[in-house]
């Protein structure tokens, strides 16, 4: 796994009540037992970590975010758009 994926998985684990070690890009987000409030905090942390703004609306179907991999892809796309790179994502 690349750095973006590793970082995103770390963020997900941080917000899980019982973090698991078997999470990879194919893991479905619904399998992580993330509570409603956690999602807002996960989005916030990912935005902070990668310096992007995720166009996520809690009122809409989060089709882009079915698996961990889809989140990773979305973040990479956003980073490419905004011209930032993973190297500067240490904040």
């Amino acid at each position: 796994m690349d750095e973006v994926a590793t970082k995103i998985i770390d963020i997900l684990k941080k917000h899980m009540k019982e973090p698991r070690d078997d999470i990879d890009t194919s893991t479905e987000l619904t399998a992580l037992e993330i509570e409603s409030l956690d999602l807002a905090m996960i989005v916030f942390d990912i935005e902070d970590a990668f310096g992007v703004e995720i166009p996520y609306n809690a009122n809409e179907d989060a089709g882009d975010f079915k698996t961990v991999g889809s989140v990773v892809d979305k973040v990479k796309a956003l980073m490419a758009d905004s011209g930032s790179d993973a190297a500067s994502a240490s904040a």
Partner: protein
Amino acid sequence: MAEQTKKRRVVVTGMGAVTPIGLNVEDFWQGLREARSGVSELGGFPLEDLKILIAAQIKDFDPKEHLRHFKRDKIIMHADRFSWFAAAAADQAVKQAGLEVPFVDPYRTACIVGSGAGGLVTFEKAYRDLFIEKKRATHPLTLLRIIGSSASAHVGIEFGVKGPTFATCSACATATHAIGTARDYIANGLVDVAIAGASESVINYGTMKAWQALHVLSPEGCFPFAKNRNGTVLGEGAGILVLEEYEHAKARGANILAELCGFGMTSDAQDMVNPDIEGPREAMKLALNDAEILPTDVQYLNAHGTATALNDKNETNAIKAVYGDHAYKLAISSTKSMHGHPLGAGGGIEAVACIKALEEGWVPPTAGLNEPDPECDLDYVPNVGRDLKVDFAMSNSFAFGGLNAVLVFGQPPA
């Protein structure tokens, strides 16, 4: 007019307190017994240019210790401090009541937990982040932490309350309005059980500046009814009761701590800060009438007693207007002299003090009362509490804006 149906009797079967002098009822009561002061040097945030440098802060509350065992521990851990206090106090109260949770009849249960101001500490942090730190966003849970009804929601979620759940908001009368309202809901048959009280945690730089600007804080301490009193001292905490319909409590063999037999509320409709005699007087009278007792039946009165120049004198005169000669025989104390002024939570914490006084036959003192104000000439139980058989105790809460609420507690029904 049809004859009014007889109201159902309401009893107290559980209570919880989180205060600067004790994080549970037992320690709080021991603090009152020792006339311990919860006032200390202000801390926990940069004091910058503040001039008032004392408060009755809770400095030893570890949310993990008090809330880790919650079924929904993650949700409550992310909440504001005022919700933590409410949750901890409610947990104590529900445990003491011995009620099965989630409640057997959740729609016949209420959760009325008020707050005078909600999550002001979260609010200030969010605005500092935005305006000073220039952060791109507030913490994502900022809104949920701030809203004044979040404590009632958190408590309701944890204990599975599905009936009326909301917060009251009436400044320093918040808890008393919550308890009185819950009592009426039970008396009138809407619910059988209620978790009721209030919580407050607002001590931060902005709050201190706002109170300082109103010039009602003492730089030295909280000395109600004393000649040298020079203002109140901000406090924080929570006081929460479990109320129950009498037959409901009896049927399950609950240990009944007291009866909540009277509730009165009025508004001065006069001024935001200057209290009136009429409003408090009428609230006390209504509470006595509601309890169907005479002024002479009351032995202990837990005063609002904020130690501001205006309140203590006005409250003294209002008590005289209600009690006449008996005012001089009443044991009156302001426990704020020990736990400080926890604003909206005051009436909840003071309700606990009244119930303990009934239970133990001992009334708490007014600490720091060495020389009374000549205009405050009643028996305020100076400095040392005393043994006293209490049949009925009254608890006064008189808020900014002239919002008055009064409760009367009695011994458990025979």
